[in-house]
């Protein structure tokens, strides 16, 4: 993938907000890939968790917006528990999600879900799913 780097992107408002909302020092990550090795959702993602972190480090907001990885994160915290640098990647994933959700964009549209699916799902699934994937 060809990418264009610039100091403008590295210091963008997007990067500043991700750092603020996640509370994480993104530059601690040295791309060892341990987060991706243990990620239970990795095989379903289009880019791996360590690549998400790399794109945020470089301020590549548009490239990140074209991937679905943050929406497949289940917040299982396996990456958080194993990161050798102490980066809480689950919080970085959450920050990227909420920056979209706070623009009133739902990733899942509850009104379009099949009624029988909603009737079948337990409360714990519906509440957590809507908390994570709707605005």
């Amino acid at each position: 993938m060809r990418i264009e780097l610039s100091s403008r992107k590295l210091r963008s408002e997007f990067v500043r907000k991700v750092v603020e909302i996640s509370g994480q020092d993104l530059m601690l990550c040295y791309q060892c890939g341990k987060c991706s090795a243990g990620c239970p959702m990795g095989s379903a993602m289009d880019i791996l968790p360590n690549q998400v972190l790399r794109l945020v480090q470089l301020g590549l907001e548009e490239d990140l917006a074209q991937t679905k990885t943050v929406w497949l994160c289940a917040s299982c915290l396996t990456c958080t528990a194993r990161c050798p640098k102490g980066v809480d990647l689950s919080r970085v994933m959450e920050a990227i999600r909420v920056l979209t959700l706070r623009k009133n964009r739902n990733y899942v549209e509850p009104s379009r879900m099949p009624p029988d699916a909603i009737a079948d799902l337990p409360q714990i699934a519906l509440v957590s799913g809507f908390r994570k994937l709707t605005s």
Binding site: E20, I21, S22, G23, P40, M41, S43, A44, L72, A74, S75, C76, L77, T78, T80, A81, D88, S90, R91, M93, E94, A95, V98, Y107, V108, M113, A117, D120, L121, P122, Q123, I124, A125, L126, V127, S128, G129, F130, R131, K132, L133
Partner: protein, 292 residues
């Protein structure tokens, strides 16, 4: 011994079997789980955004009510509730600035600063009651019953909320052994089932279930002991799908650890609410002679 108990939404509806069996098994141990008054949903997931304090109010309000009732400890059965209540409690205890902001949104409960201890039932069994006392109460040991213990995520991660070793927990296996059963180790005990992704991605959850259950089966498990209503739902619904056709997938019965306790204590199986378990689980219980 009386203990304040926080049920949460799913234990009152889709996981009544979990609650009923826990209340019965604990009563047999002389422990009375007393449901706390005026509880509300904890929100199920802990807010991971630093600036999202409003979602901490739901769990914190419950903890303030426990304090108001004069209790120093609250027990949960649901692994998600445990995680959310416990972590919100740490925010109130350790972050004065956030505590002040959260408190300013609550005017119907007394001031709260993390005084209540949040415990999962497995911690109470291990640390307060002890395996010896549990073994002493067994009337029908789970003899020759091979059970894999499945933890999922929220009892173990993050480290600050872990009830046991993050990577190699033993509390569920220890309970199975205390009940006279055989605990089967398998490498997917702490792997995520896909959790809330089930609302949008059943295929992924089904794939996760296939790996988790397949691994337990290959290691000789006859059943899987679970502690989270979302894991139980995901693995159960996935098996209904995976078992169709000629895939060779045989599945695995799922039981809450509290149901195993009630059975080993020789209590009436009616206290276990097995009608909410899968037909496969009910068949297995009869085959094992655990239910007549």
């Amino acid at each position: 011994m009386d203990l304040a108990y926080y049920p949460g939404c799913t234990l009152k509806t889709r996981a009544r079997n979990f609650e009923q069996s826990a209340l019965a098994a604990l009563a047999a141990l002389g422990v009375n789980l007393v449901e706390m008054p005026r509880w509300n949903c904890c929100g199920t997931v802990y807010s991971l955004a630093e600036d999202d304090l409003v979602h901490h109010i739901a769990p914190v309000r419950n903890l303030a009510l426990v304090k108001q009732a004069g209790q120093g400890k609250v027990v949960t059965l649901c692994a998600f509730c445990y995680n959310t209540l416990h972590r919100a409690n740490l925010v109130m205890r350790d972050s004065p600035e956030k505590r002040t902001a959260i408190t300013s949104f609550m005017d119907d409960v007394p001031a709260y600063a993390g005084e209540v201890q949040v415990a999962h039932l497995l911690q109470v069994l291990r640390d307060d009651i002890g395996w010896d006392k549990i073994t002493a109460r067994v009337r029908k040991p789970l003899k020759d019953v091979k059970i894999a213990a499945y933890y999922g995520c929220t009892l173990l991660r993050p480290q600050s909320a872990a009830i046991d070793s993050v990577e190699r927990p033993t509390v569920l296996q220890d309970l199975v052994r205390a009940l006279g059963g055989t605990a089967v180790d398998f490498p997917f005990a702490t792997e995520c089932c896909g959790a809330f992704q089930v609302v949008n991605n059943r295929d992924i959850v089904n794939e996760r279930a296939k790996m988790i259950i397949g691994s337990a089966v290959r290691n000789g498990a006859g059943a899987l002991a679970v502690s989270c209503p979302l894991c139980e739902y995901n693995l159960r619904q996935a098996q209904a799908t995976l078992g169709q056709g000629n895939s060779g997938f045989t599945g695995l019965p799922l039981v809450y650890f509290t149901q195993l306790m009630a059975l080993a204590f020789g209590l009436d199986p009616a206290t276990c609410g097995f009608d909410q378990n899968s037909p496969q689980t009910q068949t297995w219980l009869r085959q094992q002679g655990l239910v007549s």
